[in-house]
Amino acid sequence: MSAANNEYYFLSGGGEMGELIRAKDWAKTPLGHPATWPQSLRTMVAVMLGNPFGMYIAWGENYTQLYNDGYRPILGSTKHPDALGISTKETFSEIWHIIGSMFAGVMKGEAVGFPDFMLPLNRNGFVEECYFDFSYSPIRKEDGEVGGVLVTVIETTEKKKATEALKESNLRFINNIMHAPVAMCIFRGKDHVVEIANDQMLELWGKQGVQVMNKPIFEGLPEAKDQGLEILLDTVYTTGQKFVANERQVNLPRNGKMEPVFVNFVYEALRETDGTISGIAAIAIEVTAQVLSRSKVEESEHKVRSLVENAPFPIAVFGGDEMIVELANQSIIDAWGKGNNVIGKSFKTVMPELDYQHVFGQIQKVLTTGEAFNAKNTNFDLVIDGQVQNFYFNYSLTPLYDLQGKIYAVMNTAADVTDLNIAKKNIEESEQNIRSLVLQSPIGICVLDAETLVSEIVNESFIEVAGKPYEEIAGKYYWDTFAEAKALYEPALKKVVEEGVPFFANEVEMLLIRHGREEIIYVTFVYAPLKNIAGEVKKIAVWVLDNTQQVAARKKIKEADKKFRDTVKQAPVGITILRGPEYVVEMANEAYLNLVGRNEEDFIGKPLFDSLPEVKDAVQGLLNGVLTTGVPYHGNEIPIPINRYGVEEISYFDFLYYPLREIDGSISGVIVTVTEVKEKVEARMKTEQNEERLNIVVDASELGTWELNVKTNAVQYSKKYLEIIGGYKENEALTHQQLLQHLHPDDLTIRQKAFADAIASGYLHYEARLIWKDQSVHWMEGKGKVFYDADNNPEKLIGTIRDITPEKNHQQELEESEKKFRNLVMQSPVPKAILRGKDMVIEMANDVLLNNIWRKTGTGVHGKKIFEVFPELTEQKYAALLDEVYTTGKVHSESESLIFINAEDGVHKFYIDFEYAPLREMGVIYGIKITLIDVTEKVEARKKIEESENRFRSLTESIPQLIWETDESGNALFASGKWLEYTGVKPTGEAEWRAVIHPDDFEENAKVWAHSLATGQVYRCDVRIKNKEGFYRWHTVIGEPVLSKDNKIIKWVGAFTDIHTEKAFTQELEKQVAKRTKELEENNIALEKMNKELQSFAYISSHDLQEPLRKIQTFASQIMEKESQHLSGSGQDKFQRMYNAAQRMQNLINDLLSYSRTNTHERIFEKTNLAKIIEEVKDDLKEELEKKQGSIESDASYEMNIIPFQFRQLLYNLVSNSIKFTNPGIPPSIKIKTGIVRGEAVEGKGLSSGVSYYHICISDNGIGFEQQYDEKIFEVFQRLHGKSEYPGTGIGLAIVKKIVDNHGGIITAKGEQGKGATFDIYIPMQQK
């Protein structure tokens, strides 16, 4: 059967299931023998077996099953292989109730599919969940009926797993976000749609989920707009760069209001697997509380600090055990008095003086215990600015706690109560003083009640004065106590009580009962009312002083006084006693009255100045002085005006004002003693007056006076002298030596000479400079006279000095200014002259004027009147102008004025710029300064230029070129008429140029023109210019700068020339040249090819040709050596000839080779010593030379720049020729001469002039040659002689010529038949 099944094409293949299907005896199944299967089944089976996917067919009503390898695992091990060929119902009996209807449906033509259908399969030794896409589709038979069900299965396990994993991970992701302890959210897309946001984020936003979810964030949270967040998100979204914000302030809704919120947040881009950014993850932490609290802390710290710093009382904070001053305001810093640099230092080191004053201990205690410490009115000694001072402070030390509650510092506040303390102390003291003062007062005090007149307070003094016991006074009615005085003073006391006005009693006599006895005492007392605030008299203070003793004493004095007066009265000198401030004349003796010319009655008892008004001015001040100060005044020869007996005169008095003191020491008057000294004084005054006058004269003359003792050098001088000598303002005692130091060192000799002269002549006079204290230099004039002693030796010099600095300065200035003016005129490069006076006398005329214009000598004109010297001026305008300037004083100037001057050689014509300026002295015109400049050349040149310009312009019109002119920066100045004629426009600016110049040429032309303008180089350019018919023609423009004398460009002149025809020709020419060039290049290539061929020929000849030749030679020589005895004489000869022929051929090849090498070898020039090469050549040719007994002479000594091996060959060839071509029997004599010649010095040889050549001349005495061959000999293979005579290849000289050519040199030959040949070689010294 199976063999039969194999025959069916539709059962072929199919792996294991194929085999099973083929092995199956289908006849036993409802399907029947395969041969009977309908076509559609066959086709499906074939498809199934050929398919790698799982496929399953349930055919017919019985659902007979067929399936392939791909489907097998789905059946699992329990159903396979039994399932093949049996019914689905049987195989899937357990689920047929589910799938039966589905199969039935398919059979009705309804396809069904199950995507991702899960089947637990054990495929790899364990059960796993597998997923498949099942599709159930009807298989239609040929007649259209459904014949069976086709199940196709595609496994989707992997896909499913991936999807599941994705789902799970998404879930986890969202879960993570949702349950994250920080605010998180995901924004999707470029609009930042909120995809996920956890509660924290919503809380942060202040929103409900529905308000924001799945909306663009700025739509859901519009409050966050315009706070810069959009751009952040956009940037992260576009760039993918993470953004981290730290404590960023964002305004967000809180409880319906916007509030500032501080947030730390991160925006991170979310990327897809392909790297594109699809969204942003945002993570945020609100840090508002921290920020606020920190800023509060900062604020409070700041507050504390500013509180401390601005506190009006001293405050400081000390940190730690070291008591570092952490804070201290200016107030405490000032109190410490240690300067501002205390912060950060230990308080202990800042205030060491507090160490023994317990403060540090107190601070330490506060630090350790935390108990605040207060102290009041504590006395401290502080060192302020290095001085110990006493202070009082109220202060407190307060502990400062940190956040952990630890004491970290102590705050010290203090109040400086020093002033208060001192004031209090003072008050206390003064109270004390007053109290003790009152109690111990020497004045008696008794206070009465104003109403009752009962005594309330009584002091000791009062008791003493009263002379009654305390008990009789205190608490008693006043008039009871002093009944004896009642009558006299009761009304007064009553009046005081009633009116409130104090009552004074001065030194009144009073009868009192004292100590039980009646006694008369003298008292001074006061009843003083004491008032309350309302002004009512409440008390009466009785002040009393016992004057009894004083009164008694005064009485005694009066008596003594009287005695004194009586004595005085008789005194011979005038004596008077003046009392009180009015100077009442208490007494005056006879002498005094006589002195003043007054009667006693009119004088005594009256104020002094009432009687003697004339002396008031003179003496009142003196008297006042004595009366107030108590210092006696001694007047000596005082002039006092006095009117005696009707005569008013000034008299002179010696007098003494002496104070008169009372017993208490007070001054009550003046005693005056006086004598008249008029005559004595007048006599002396006359002398003094004389001296005074002299002084005045001296002072007025500003003279310093001096006197020098010649012998001792002692010097006396006046104050003025000092001032002049050294600028001293005060009197100073200086020695002669010190004074001399003020003399200017340079002028010391002048003074010495003057003094030496003075000793001889008796008179001193000199001028010298002085250096003052302030180092300023001054001039002085000294004059003096010598006084001689009895022996006629000079004893002293008396003299004066005068400060003459201003004169000197003025003089110098004057001289200088005059000199300057004169120099100015004389040295001026401008012709100048000075005329003086109305007659215009030539005072001065400088050389320029004399030589160039006036053509006179200085002596010929100086001192002469100008119009006498130049009468021609009177005929021209100049005379009138000069007169006008002299009279009006107005400056006259003119330019390019024509003037004619007559000189000896005729009349000269000038153009001058001139100025006539008046010269003034003290405002008066005394002359004229003439300044004139010869501008003849300039004027004439300009005229010439103008002329030439005109000529130039008219010329431009007559030539066919278009002429133009511009200024130095290219602005059009002029364009010839041809311009207009040709272009129809006038070129004035860029626009016109653009219009006429071909657009293709414009930029280039502008560039060239700009370059020329910038560099001053000639402007040259070819451009096409449009004519007015609109056709372009080629023009060449050439512009040249016109230079000023100082080589500056002043303008540009140029021309456009029509070159259209030439240009066309040139273009044709260029075409032809290009053609020729091409031909040449082709020729060159051909030549190179030929050269290469030649080189290969050279190689062949050097090697391959030589080899057979060499063998011919070798064989020949072998035969001659070994076999010659077998040869006849003729044979031997022929062998020899053959050998020679081969030899010649070898030479020929060698020569040809070297000839070709001279072509091909690189030309490497080296500095080479010619003598050395000649030596080498000599050496090479030694044998030949010896053979012919020849000689070579050479003077070569040059180092030449040559190709060494070639040059050697050259010399070798020439010298060997000379040795070879000799006259028979005459030994060759070869001379080599060398030298250097200039090309131009050699004629007829084609040397370049201006080039230096080495000249090598080689001459011999050989056979020479006919001159007609002088060029032919240098050609290849040219021989002038038979080979038998002179063997050779005919190449040697050709090589020589070639080598000389290689060196860029020239060789010539000179010969004379039979006499010798000369070769001249010229090699340029500089090789190119």
């Binding site: 090697h1103 063998k1111 070798t1114």
Partner: protein
């Protein structure tokens, strides 16, 4: 001379080989001559010789398969062969070539002369100079052996 020297000639030209042999025969030297006719043969012969190297190698430059120049370069690179004296034996005389082989360490340079007597002379000189010179390279001035 007593000692018998082993000479090796590398030359592809039979004539030159015959000349060399004839010359040696005429010379009063006790030598044996071995020949190879190209560079490849030469290098093989040297490699197979082991310790039994020739005393002098006469080397033609213009040989088929491997040129004498290449052979010289190789010989001087092989440590065992470095001491082998190599005398260049060539038809041509190009100074550039002479300089190059001198640099590569050849002992002498001989330009094959046409005259047989000169050939004999130059071979004799080459052999005797080489021995006298203790197989060292000749100084540059005497490097080219003149016949």
């Amino acid at each position: 001379m007593g000692v018998k020297y082993n000479l090796l000639l590398a030359d592809d030209d039979e004539d030159d080989f015959a000349f060399f042999k004839d010359a040696l025969d005429d010379l009063p030297l006790s030598v044996t001559l071995t020949t190879v006719s190209d560079g490849v043969q030469l290098m093989r012969a040297l490699a197979e010789a082991g310790d039994n190297l020739p005393d002098i190698l006469f080397l033609d430059l213009n040989m088929p398969r491997k040129s004498g120049f290449d052979c010289l370069t190789e010989i001087k690179q092989v440590k065992k062969l470095q001491q082998l004296p190599v005398i260049i034996f060539s038809t041509s005389l190009d100074m550039n070539v002479v300089d190059m082989v001198y640099e590569r360490g050849a002992t002498f340079y001989i330009r094959k002369p046409g005259d047989f007597s000169k050939l004999k002379k130059v071979i004799f000189n080459a052999i005797t100079f080489t021995f006298q010179n203790n197989f060292r390279q000749a100084p540059r001035d005497n490097f080219i052996l003149q016949p």
